[in-house]
């Protein structure tokens, strides 16, 4: 018991920090969303959900976050496998390649993508010179561009948890499976994949939470014509000066994020319980 208490003490600075900087404002926000003229009410929520435009934005936000997560997963998984097998200098190269881009601001990255996606940009020049398309394809200000850009920015948050899990996996397990007659494909689906699921779940939770609440990336890559929930939030607070609406939208975002975190930790526990 005493040892547990000491561990609690170690977490105290972090918890205090989070409580003051994070939890308290969120609580105030949540309260605000349920109050109209000092009375407890869900009117703001009813108002929000009765507007089909808001539902479109909500659906777009979820869709973009989901597709971003999927794309990041598809790119990250093989990368994580390669990293988990890399040794020495190659491992360092991989880790640096993963971590270094995180030090580049998201604004800079979004700008970089908007350069690449231009009609007269690098990507279109390449597609045209390869003869894949005759006329330039409009990519900037499309949802695909947003998903590609966001997946790029959030990739490390998917790769690193999967890598960490794969790195810990006993390398003899796939060998044992092979000696029992399992083909590489069978080994992947029955050994490597199930054992890496906790990392996949963690990575997806990270990326989904980040993608559902991103603001700068959609502002720069798709603009105001395809608003997301966080853009609506900013608009409500800063331009409409409608704090109740802003608080309501933030709270909806918060609920989505909390559900994802709780859901994924439940899933990770369930997966982890078996091993």
């Amino acid at each position: 018991m005493r040892r547990l208490e000491h561990i609690g003490l170690l977490a105290l600075p972090g918890l205090t920090f989070l409580a003051v900087i994070f939890a308290l404002p969120l609580l105030l926000l949540l309260l605000k969303s349920f109050q109209i003229d000092g009375q407890v009410s869900i009117a703001e929520y009813r108002l929000f959900f009765s507007d089909s435009y808001n539902l479109t934005v909500l659906w777009r936000t979820l869709r973009v976050a989901l597709l971003t997560t999927l794309l990041a997963l598809v790119i990250a998984y093989p990368t994580a496998i390669a990293m988990s097998r890399a040794r020495g200098i190659w491992l360092s190269v991989f880790l640096v390649a993963m971590v270094l881009p995180m030090s580049v601001g998201v604004v800079v990255k979004a700008f970089a993508w908007s350069i690449i996606f231009r009609t007269r940009g690098v990507l279109n020049d390449m597609l045209m010179s390869l003869g894949i398309t005759d006329a330039p394809i409009r990519m900037l200000f499309t949802e695909s561009a947003l998903i590609i850009g966001a997946a790029n920015v959030f990739l490390p948050f998917m790769v690193l948890p999967i890598y960490a899990v794969l790195r810990q996996m006993d390398g003899r397990l796939p060998e044992a499976a092979a000696s029992l007659g399992a083909t590489p494909v069978f080994r992947f689906f029955h050994v490597t994949l199930p054992l890496s699921l906790p990392g996949v779940v963690a990575g997806c939770a990270f990326v989904f939470s980040l993608a559902v609440s991103m603001y700068v990336i959609p502002s720069l890559i798709v603009g105001e014509r395809q608003q997301t929930l966080s853009m609506l939030t900013a608009r409500s607070f800063l331009y409409l000066r409608n704090e109740a609406l802003g608080a309501t939208i933030s709270s909806i975002l918060l609920i989505i994020a909390i559900s994802v975190v709780l859901g994924s930790s439940w899933l990770a526990n369930r997966l982890g319980a078996r091993s």
Binding site: V107, G223, E224, T233, L238, G246
Partner: protein, 351 residues
């Protein structure tokens, strides 16, 4: 100088992070107030260049003030004032007239008086509003910015925005930005067929006309710098609502852009300056405003930012294109309806 631009960047990035963070700036003023020669000025993001190069060094010399400035949209400046009403950290704010009206309604401004700011007596008529609650200092004019490489013929009429050959070639500002009003008002004129003085109240006609603009729209911006960058690169050929204080200095650096004055008319950007009620360092703040309205600053800014000075003793500055009417809308009407327009506009433009 380093300090000022750093402060700007920090705040700006925090702001972009989340809306709540804007409220979080409450924490900073205590530190900033500590030094009495410092005053914090809220201004527009597009002012950054001349605030850094002209205003800050001049103020250090003339009144011994260290200027920290935060460049952002007018409505964000308003939000900063409103959320810090009990303990303001901004002393002076430079923002657009429609937002000034909202600030007066929210009781956020202190009137500018001639005894503390003698230069206000030299301003041309109409530049002092609501008994000195704010003054216009310089006024850029707004039209349509275009890329001279890809659109050598310029933009002779606002109808060019709607032309079929402009498909996917146009970006317009959001109504969240002051300059977004110019597309709305030109749409009102074209849609209703009435002269500007009447057309500015024909908002339904304006929105109907704006809907026809959708095929030509590549995007709608709230961050002007990115949209302008796309114009410079030729990704788009026209950027509606842009103004002389931004386009013309860019043109002067050699990028292939120019500002067109369509025949139906151009608009006067309503750049105002005001004192924040209860803001720190009131004497220094008044001295700053006086300098901003004085002949030296007026001439320098008007030259640098290709704008029309408000001080009648100054002859320098931009020449307003001849033969084209210049309009100034009923800002009280704008202020009263803007929120509804923003929501309507966002829904209309949504993909």
């Amino acid at each position: 100088m380093k300090l000022t631009s750093k402060g700007l960047l920090n705040r700006r990035s925090v702001l972009k992070g989340s809306a709540c963070a804007a409220l979080g700036t409450v924490a900073t003023p205590a530190i900033l107030r500590a030094q009495s020669s410092e005053i914090v000025i809220g201004c527009a993001g597009s002012h950054t260049a001349w605030m850094e190069q002209i205003v800050a060094p001049h103020m250090k010399k003339a009144i011994g003030a260290d200027i920290l400035f935060e460049g952002t949209k007018s409505s964000v400046n308003l939000e900063k004032m409103a959320s810090n009403k009990d303990a303001p950290y901004l002393s002076v704010v430079q923002m657009d007239d429609p937002v000034m009206i909202q600030a007066v309604e929210a009781d956020l401004l202190a009137p500018i008086a001639a005894d503390a700011v003698p230069n206000m007596t030299d301003l041309r008529p109409g530049a002092v509003h609501m008994d000195g609650m704010w003054c216009n200092y310089v006024q850029p004019w707004a039209g349509v910015a275009y890329n001279t490489d890809f659109r050598s013929g310029g933009v002779s009429s606002w109808t060019d925005l709607w032309a079929p050959e402009a498909e996917g070639q146009l970006i317009i500002p959001s109504l969240q930005n002051t300059e977004g009003m110019w597309t709305l008002f030109s749409a009102a004129m074209l849609g209703s067929g009435k002269p500007f003085s009447e057309a500015q109240y024909e908002i339904d006609a304006a929105f109907e006309k704006l809907e026809e603009l959708k095929p030509n729209l590549l995007s709608v911006y709230t961050t002007m710098s990115q949209a302008f960058n796309l114009l410079e690169q030729g990704e788009i050929t026209m950027l509606a609502g842009n103004f002389s204080s931004y386009t013309l200095p860019r043109k002067a650096t050699g990028v292939p852009v120019d500002l067109a004055a369509p025949s139906e008319g151009i608009f006067a950007m309503p750049s105002g300056i005001c004192l924040v009620k209860g803001g720190p360092n009131p004497e220094l703040a008044a001295a700053y405003v006086n300098e901003m309205l004085g002949p030296d600053m007026q001439a320098a800014i008007a030259d640098f930012a290709s704008s029309v000075p408000a001080n009648t003793t100054v002859t320098a500055g931009a020449i307003i294109p001849e033969g084209v009417p210049i309009y100034s809308p009923d800002w009280a009407f704008v202020a009263a309806n803007r929120r509804a327009w923003i929501e309507r506009f966002d829904k209309l433009m949504a993909l």
